[in-house]
């Protein structure tokens, strides 16, 4: 019998009734890890002997899970998928992971990511490219590539992700699963390797909305080691999901989603947009009002640039500690500067170096006000606009990206000035504002999954989860496992 294709709720039921043991679940998950590693290259580390935890009333007790390799795990290699930390074994565990382990969840492996989370393709991991379990020639997106691949392939019911621009929510869409990042600060970032601190969120990838709520319930909580974390002890996400959405109001950004705004759209793009509108109809049948609204195009067009500007600048600063002196392999050289430069030159991949150079450019004295500070100002304008709309609406609903997962030999991880860039990158709004945001699968195009995203106001996680749950219930994609297709 297979167990890892079940939800957390189902597995807990089996465990608590002695129908299966944690040992059996771990054995199956380890076996599947090895199979998925051969096909998808999803892991940096598969843990030899995971620590078996006893079954308790806690829904996560005895449940196997995966950890993105940018979370610190004591005694277990934590590389951030970078050669700069290829041998790094932390002496402490990230709070979010610790919280899960306290519930009795069992870590099985560390998943591969775009180097330090700075990429959206899963092609820049120091262990090589991560492949999409639905079609091995296609990408998973990133940066939580390995976590998305593993959950979609049914290695376990959940894995941790992190999300600075869309790094949980886009891989979820490309892999046909659920990706949820809660409000900024609900989960402590202590022990998460920083990329851009004002945009970084912890979160999870699962195959159902309720599972996502269970996992974040366990991960969250105020933490003295993260000053930006806040007390959410009065929020019980899983228990609060009731599927009652009649009377709720959502909006989508009409001048990004409607086909009328695009010249010569591809068939895939048209199918993607049509699928979005079909999903909207399903929600409307549940009693939800969905309205298309227009937002100033100049403001929308600035979203990807604001993201590049702020994330690259913050990353440049955050990663200045990667010198090979305090951790990582020490570089060669006559003096300390040469040693640090040697370490950084050899350790970082070309794509991450590109982002650093952009960050360096933005932070030059002559550019700081023009680019960096103005990007911070535009960030506020975008967030203020969303908050104004959240006074009228329960949330924003949008298709994820412009279609299905691209082929690996044609990655999109380069700068772009085409007219689809806002649709491709709009999930970054969720990071600008720290908004709770969830992607769920909502259909297939050419046998590949696509996703839809719901984003709400800060602290309104329960509302966002509830709408996602109501929609999930009406569609046949809950808890789907990737079926490999060759095309």
């Amino acid at each position: 019998m297979m167990y890892m294709n079940k939800t957390i709720e189902e597995l807990h039921d089996l465990l608590i009734n002695d129908k299966v043991t944690p040992e059996e679940l771990v054995d199956e998950s380890l076996k599947l890890s090895k199979e998925v590693q051969d096909k998808c290259n999803a892991f940096v580390t598969i843990i030899d002997k995971p620590k078996i935890m006893p079954v308790s009333e806690n829904m996560l007790s005895g449940i196997p899970f995966g950890i993105k390799d940018n979370y610190s795990t004591e005694g277990i290699l934590s590389t951030g998928s970078s050669n700069t930390l290829k041998d790094y074994v932390p002496f402490y565990t990230a709070t979010a992971v610790q919280n899960l382990e306290k519930c009795g969840a069992i870590a099985i492996n560390k998943t591969a990511l775009d180097e330090f989370g700075m990429g959206g393709t899963g092609t820049t991991c120091h262990t090589g490219t991560v492949r999409n379990p639905w079609n091995l020639k296609r990408m998973c997106a990133g940066s939580s590539s390995g976590s998305a691949a593993a959950v979609a392939a049914g290695v376990y019911p959940f894995a941790l992700g992190s999300d600075t621009g869309d790094s949980i929510r886009k891989p979820a869409a490309y892999c046909g699963i659920v990706g949820y990042k809660p409000t900024y600060g609900m989960i402590s970032r202590y022990g998460l390797f920083p990329f851009a601190s004002s945009l970084d969120h912890c979160g999870c990838l699962t195959r159902s909305v309720k599972d996502a709520a269970i996992v974040v319930d366990a991960m969250k909580g105020i933490d003295k080691n993260d000053q930006t974390s806040w007390d959410s002890s009065n929020m019980h996400l899983y228990e609060s999901i009731d599927g009652k959405v009649k009377g709720k109001k959502l909006f989508y950004i009409k001048n990004v989603v409607d086909l009328d705004y695009y010249q010569n759209p591809t068939d895939e793009f048209v199918s993607h947009i049509n699928n979005f509108h079909k999903t909207i109809e399903i929600l409307e049948k549940c009693g939800v009002t969905v309205e298309g609204i227009e937002i100033d195009r100049n403001l929308l067009n600035a979203i990807p640039s604001v993201y590049v500007c702020l994330s690259c600048a913050e990353a440049t600063s955050n990663m200045s500690n990667l010198t090979g002196i305090i951790f990582g392999p020490r570089g060669n050289g006559e003096n300390i500067n040469e040693m640090m430069k040697d370490h950084r030159t050899k350790g970082f991949s070309p794509l991450i170096k590109r982002r650093f150079v952009i960050g360096s450019y933005i932070l030059q004295k002559e550019n700081q006000e023009k680019y960096f500070v103005n990007a911070q100002r535009v960030r506020r304008l975008i967030v203020d606009k969303m908050k104004e709309l959240f006074k009228t609406y329960d949330g924003l609903i949008m298709p994820v990206g412009t279609g299905i997962a691209p082929f690996l030999d044609n990655p999109k991880d380069s700068v772009s000035n085409d007219d689809v860039s806002v649709l491709e990158e709009h999930l970054q709004i969720g990071n600008f504002g720290g908004f709770p945001s969830i992607t769920i699968p909502d259909g297939f195009i050419d046998d590949m999954p696509v996703g839809i995203n719901i984003t709400g106001n800060c602290y309104d996680d329960i509302n966002v989860l509830n709408i996602a749950y109501a929609l999930e219930r009406e569609m046949p994609y809950k808890n789907q496992i990737a079926k490999e297709v060759e095309k």
Partner: protein, 97 residues
């Protein structure tokens, strides 16, 4: 020409990063587009008086944690990542003199 190979190398050098010829070209080839995209930020009118947003949650209040004595991390754990040490002493590059 606004962007040159030397400028790209200089920007990387300020971060103590060396670029190969290919890496330099990768950045240089894209810098015009990057710059055009950055200009989109400057197209938003009347933003001089907008307060720059540096943090996600506007209603956030920092609280200093209480000054309590805590256990420090055992030296043995810290030394796990250190390849060259003698006892508790870590070998570091010579910096002075």
């Amino acid at each position: 020409m606004k962007f040159t190979k030397e400028l790209v190398d200089n920007l990387a050098d300020k971060l103590l990063i060396g670029l190969t010829e290919e890496e330099n070209k990768l950045v240089l080839d894209e810098f015009d587009i990057i710059d055009q995209n950055m200009e989109l930020i400057t197209k938003i009118p009347d933003i001089d008086d907008v307060e720059p947003m540096t943090h996600t949650l506007d209603d956030f209040e920092y609280e200093l944690r209480s000054d309590e004595k805590e256990e420090s991390i055992p030296i043995e754990k810290l030394l796990q990542n250190c390849k060259s040490h003698e006892g508790r002493e870590i070998e570091v590059p010579k910096i002075v003199g």
